[in-house]
């Protein structure tokens, strides 16, 4: 048990910090629902970052840290599925990757080259051909898309399907970790400068305690996500995803309360994190689905 970063992990995180720097702020004239990080995606691709889980010195744990770090940014790229799930798929599948769950619109579906199709208990993989998918307008802060027609798909064995579900949970928790932290930081900044009743909002204990509780929850999500990425254990993954969805549900609500009307605007970036969190909350059966997975894997139910 050692929570210190290895030299390789530190070096990679420093490199990611440098790479992320130009993408740190929402462009001032951007007033949309989802900010696609095309420039960031090119840089990550050029630097080979999508393959870091396969580097023996780095592995899935470091990939999860990278996903967390990149989710801090207001723009979005499919990092989680590409970095954490793709290495676990049977065979070679090109990125970007997206999930279509029971036919619903999903994140990055319109730009994906590989689709993970979840239909009840069945999990399939498909390569996307032109005309299979189309963009979908959405309030969620991811570029959303939907199937226009169902592509030819390979149905996975029960064992492979279980593995894919485990790593989807790890990916969800890792991404939620960064989103939660960035959203809390954004709201904290607002509370430090916005004054009411003659003093900063952040000096009112009612809000301070609520923010502190959000912080504790978010920190817990981070540790559970990192552990699940390190072990790949289905029970760890289910716990991480459940805690992520539970925490995201509460924190997204609380942070919008902190911002008042400012949080309703597209000018303020808060929704770029909270409406990604809300998308994640809906996935893989939501909190009820994760709770069943926890009961199955941790309590043998």
């Amino acid at each position: 048990m050692d929570f210190t970063l290895t030299t390789d992990q530190s070096a990679l995180m420093s490199a990611l910090d440098r790479l992320a720097k130009p993408f740190e702020f929402k462009p001032i004239d951007f007033h949309g629902f989802a900010l696609a990080g095309d420039g960031l995606e090119r840089e990550l691709d050029d630097g080979g970052y999508f393959d870091i889980a396969q580097v023996p010195e780095l592995g899935s744990l470091t990939a999860a840290m990278a996903v967390e770090r990149l989710a801090w940014l207001p723009c979005t790229v499919d990092t989680a599925l590409s970095m954490l799930v793709r290495p676990q798929l049977p065979g070679e599948w090109p990125r970007p990757i997206a999930v279509v769950e029971n036919g619903r619109p999903g994140r990055f579906v319109a730009t994906a080259k590989t689709l993970i199709l979840i239909d009840g208990d069945q999990v399939s993989l498909a390569r996307v051909t032109p005309g299979d998918v189309e963009p979908a307008e959405s309030l969620f802060a991811y570029p959303m898309g939907r199937l226009k027609r169902r592509p030819a798909a390979t149905v996975l064995s029960a064992e492979d399907a279980a593995s894919v579900r485990t790593w989807l949970r790890v990916a969800l928790a890792a991404e939620a970790t960064g989103l939660l932290q960035a959203a809390i930081a954004s709201a904290g900044e607002h509370l430090s400068v916005r004054k009411q009743f003659g003093r900063p909002l952040g000096s009112f204990q009612a809000l301070r305690h609520r923010m502190a509780e959000c912080t504790v929850l978010a920190g817990g999500v981070r540790w559970l996500a990192l552990k699940a990425a390190a072990t790949g254990d289905p029970a760890d993954a289910a716990l991480a995803a459940l805690h992520a969805q539970e925490s995201a549900t509460r924190i997204a609500y609380d942070l919008h309360q902190m911002l008042g009307a400012m949080g309703m605007t597209l000018e303020h970036p808060l929704h770029l994190w909270t409406y990604r969190l809300k998308a994640l909350v809906s996935e893989l059966g939501g909190r009820g689905g994760q709770a069943l997975a926890v009961a199955r894997h941790a309590f043998g139910h």
Partner: protein, 378 residues
């Protein structure tokens, strides 16, 4: 970063578990009647003596004081296994966690020679004289006075909510030697000193656990002063930083959650609502566990623990709450004679957010030090 136990850590855990299997009767909690009771205090002295003989009471202490200089992980693995077993060390957990280490840091040679060896042998019980009727979370407003009188101090005042006071040999007492926060001092006071009266407070948390302690012109030699006059705040901070993540409550909460779920499943009562609630509680327990490990890792590397320790404590309080609520809702008979172990845990968990300072104080620290939010005006 590595989430696996290394061979040495796993081997130490196995050793502790083997000791518990050989020395701790399975039903000991049902017989002991509460953490501060006479029966448990007596049981703990015998048990801690056996732990000491096996080299498992203070392995993390320096060799000079009976330890083997083991690292912070060893201390925490030991604490996890003890707490998961219901904490058979009773009030002596405080001795090894912080009273001994604080005496090593701040005590005179005579104080160390007098008080540390009995702790290392597992034969003494301490109580913590901090809270007062008018000084709980606001510890700096304490009123108990210690006035210099030649080579002595005369102590008068009242402490309250004092755990283990009924059977303690010594009190780690905070008293005022001058006005203000810098006027607080620590005294090591034998509990059989004339002028001390202990009155048990009947409570929902178990027999003999909390007390009022009255100091009526109690005369102690100046050698009872720990450190210097006015050093109490520094000493108390050192003590509380060890105490805050010193109790792995998640370990017992997690064990009791599993116990409750197993029974509900066996009896066909583990329905949808119970599944969801138990899963949430389990996630909270594991989050608290990893949070605490982060602090232990900081200690192992000699990094000063910061506000993350407050977050770890709060996460632990939350997991205790969720497990407690789960049992009350789905196995209420546990509180009515149906399961003495779940009852004992429930009673211990009541204090999780109160003992060693209200958890809301941790939220203040997190808001100020982690989130850097503006302070509340005073």
């Amino acid at each position: 970063m590595d989430f696996q136990w290394d061979a040495e850590q796993q081997s130490f855990r196995d050793t502790v578990r083997a000791f518990l299997a050989a020395n701790l009767p399975a039903d000991w909690e049902a017989q002991a009647h509460g953490p501060g009771s006479e029966s448990q205090s007596a049981f703990s002295k015998k048990f801690c003596g056996a732990l000491a003989e096996a080299g498992l009471l203070v392995p993390h202490w320096p060799q000079r004081w009976g330890g083997r200089d083991a690292d912070a992980w060893t201390a925490f693995i030991l604490a996890e296994e003890m707490w998961a077993a219901g904490e058979p060390r009773g009030g002596q957990y405080m001795n090894v966690n912080w009273i001994g280490p604080v005496l090593m840091r701040f005590g005179s040679e005579a104080q160390q020679a007098r008080y540390i060896p009995p702790i290392a042998r597992g034969e003494t019980l301490w109580c913590q004289g901090f809270s007062e009727p008018e000084a709980g979370s606001d510890l700096a407003s304490l009123r108990t006075r210690a006035e210099k009188d030649g080579g002595f101090y005369r102590i008068s005042g009242q402490k309250i909510w004092t755990s283990y006071a009924g059977h303690a040999d010594t009190c780690f007492l905070l008293a005022r030697t001058a006005p203000g926060k810098t006027g607080m001092s620590v005294f090591l006071v034998p509990m059989d000193t004339p002028g001390i009266t202990v009155r048990q407070i009947p409570s929902v948390i178990g027999e003999g656990d909390i007390h009022e302690v009255f100091f009526d012109d109690v005369r102690v030699p100046e050698s009872a002063l720990l450190g210097a006059e006015g050093q109490a705040w520094e000493i108390a901070r050192a003590a509380l930083s060890l105490e805050r993540v010193g109790i792995p409550r998640f370990a017992l909460a997690s064990r009791m959650l599993r116990r409750a779920v197993e029974r509900l499943r066996r009896e066909g009562r583990y329905g949808h609502g119970a599944v969801e609630q138990s899963a949430r509680a389990h996630a909270a327990c594991e989050a608290a566990r990893l949070y605490s490990y982060q602090i232990v890792d900081q200690r192992r590397h000699g990094t000063p623990t910061g506000p993350e320790a407050s977050a770890a404590r709060y996460a632990t309080v939350m997991c205790e709450r969720l497990v407690g609520e789960f049992v009350v809702e789905h196995l209420p008979e546990a509180l009515s004679g149906g399961d003495p172990l779940l009852l004992a845990h429930h009673q211990r968990a009541i204090v999780a957010g109160i003992a060693s300072g209200a958890a809301e104080i941790q939220l203040n620290l997190i808001a100020t030090e982690l989130l850097q939010l503006p302070r509340e005006p005073r």
